[in-house]
């Protein structure tokens, strides 16, 4: 499932967005257009990692509340506003995991499985699909995050870097390593490292 990312925007769009942010910083009611623009993608990002739709909506609302409360602290860094929202979403999501309000879930579909099987240079057999799912569930959280962002949500390394607070190159290297680990788990057909 691809999240509708608005990460790659023209300079004009970024400037228009910045104007909206400045208005929202002066008056929270002006935050409406930004809320409309990003609500769906933030919700999808959260729901992708959960199995509870109501909780996903609650966390999404919480993300926008936090964003509004801290909008005056926002600093423009030449990237879309969504990067900042994703970071808040990530923080809220992991807080709910820590509070045991939500269960960490990997939501995967056939298209994603095929993409990863291609990446690890294997055949698309039923047995391999099952083995891949098993290997995924054995990966560490930080590696799952990278695989989710890259292969399930089809994000660029630059956007991944913005969300995970890494450089683009670092995101690339870490994703490569995560895939290598997944490949090892997949080929050895053994429980976790």
């Amino acid at each position: 499932m691809r999240v509708h990312s608005n990460f790659h925007q023209t300079n004009q769009l970024l400037q228009d967005e910045l104007d909206l942010i400045k208005k929202a910083q002066k008056n929270p009611e002006q935050f409406g257009p930004l809320y409309k623009k990003y609500h769906e993608q933030i919700f999808r990002y959260i729901y992708q990692r959960l199995d509870d739709i109501e909780l996903a909506h609650d966390i999404t609302a919480q993300v926008f509340i936090k964003a509004l409360l801290n909008i005056t602290k926002y600093e423009y860094r030449g990237v879309p506003f969504s990067s900042w929202l994703y970071r808040i979403a990530k923080s809220e999501l992991y807080q709910s995991f820590r509070d045991k309000k939500a269960e960490r879930t990997i939501n995967i579909d056939t298209v994603n499985v095929i993409a990863i099987i291609d990446e690890i240079e294997s055949d698309e057999t039923e047995e391999n699909k099952k083995q891949l799912l098993n290997a995924l569930s054995l990966l560490k959280e930080k590696d799952v995050q990278l695989i989710e962002l890259r292969f399930f949500e089809k994000r660029s390394f630059k956007e991944m870097g913005e969300i995970l607070e890494l450089t683009e190159n670092n995101a690339k290297v870490k994703t490569f390593r995560a895939i290598e680990k997944l490949k090892t788990l997949f080929l050895t057909k053994k429980p976790a490292l």
Partner: protein
């Protein structure tokens, strides 16, 4: 970690239906005063803590000052009355013995401006004490010598343990060696008996003579201890 395979997808319209910017705005309005209260709450706690630490510190400092300098020794005023001030020999030296010597020794600094500098640290106090010892004429002496070599004649001619005029020595101990025995004698008053001086001069055998536990009464009727005198008779 839970794994869902091919979970039904949500359409954009379904998600859009749940958009509710007004409820987000309303929540902001309820959250903001709460945050304000939170700041006030932590501010109050913080200020109280700082005040607590400050009070605790000042109390500790006061206590430590007392420990280092000693407080004005709580002498029974009936014991050291005007009458006894006139006749120091009347003071029972046993009263003086009951006072812890380390504290009493330091209490001489009561007399000076050092005592008023309560907020000083221990090291600063030590420096002040050293300066005091170097410069103050309140130090007891024997024939003008407070420490070190003294000639036999000087020692023999010394009538008493000398001190500044406003202070009266009420008792002291004198320690010396007689042949191979260590002798300690307690003297009431400030005078050095002639028999004692002769005995010391006969037997000291180049070993030091110490005058310790020197107790004095100052002009305010306060009992204090003075630093010891250590002499080497030549």
């Amino acid at each position: 970690m839970k794994l869902n395979y091919n979970r039904p997808k949500l359409s954009s319209s379904e998600i859009e239906k749940r958009q509710d910017f007004n409820s987000v705005l309303n929540q902001i309005k309820t959250v903001k005063p709460y945050l304000f209260k939170k700041i006030l709450f932590y501010g109050t706690i913080g200020l109280t803590s700082i005040a607590g630490i400050f009070i605790l510190n000042s109390t500790t400092l006061k206590t430590s000052t007392k420990k280092i300098y000693g407080t004005k020794i709580t002498l029974n005023k009936t014991l050291i009355s005007k009458k006894s001030q006139q006749n120091h020999k009347a003071i029972n030296p046993m009263i003086l013995r009951n006072v812890p010597s380390r504290k009493v020794k330091a209490s001489i600094f009561h007399e000076t401006e050092i005592f008023e500098q309560k907020t000083e640290t221990t090291s600063e106090m030590k420096v002040e004490r050293k300066k005091y010892q170097q410069t103050n004429s309140l130090l007891p002496k024997i024939s003008g010598v407070e420490y070190g070599a003294i000639s036999a004649d000087q020692f023999l001619n010394a009538k008493k343990v000398e001190i500044a005029s406003s202070t009266k020595i009420v008792s002291f101990n004198i320690n010396y060696f007689k042949i191979s025995n260590f002798i300690e004698k307690e003297i009431i008053g400030d005078e050095l008996p002639d028999e004692l001086k002769n005995e010391i001069l006969t037997y000291h055998n180049q070993l030091p003579v110490s005058i310790t536990n020197i107790m004095c009464v100052d002009s305010n009727n306060q009992l204090n201890s003075l630093p010891s005198i250590r002499l080497f008779i030549k």
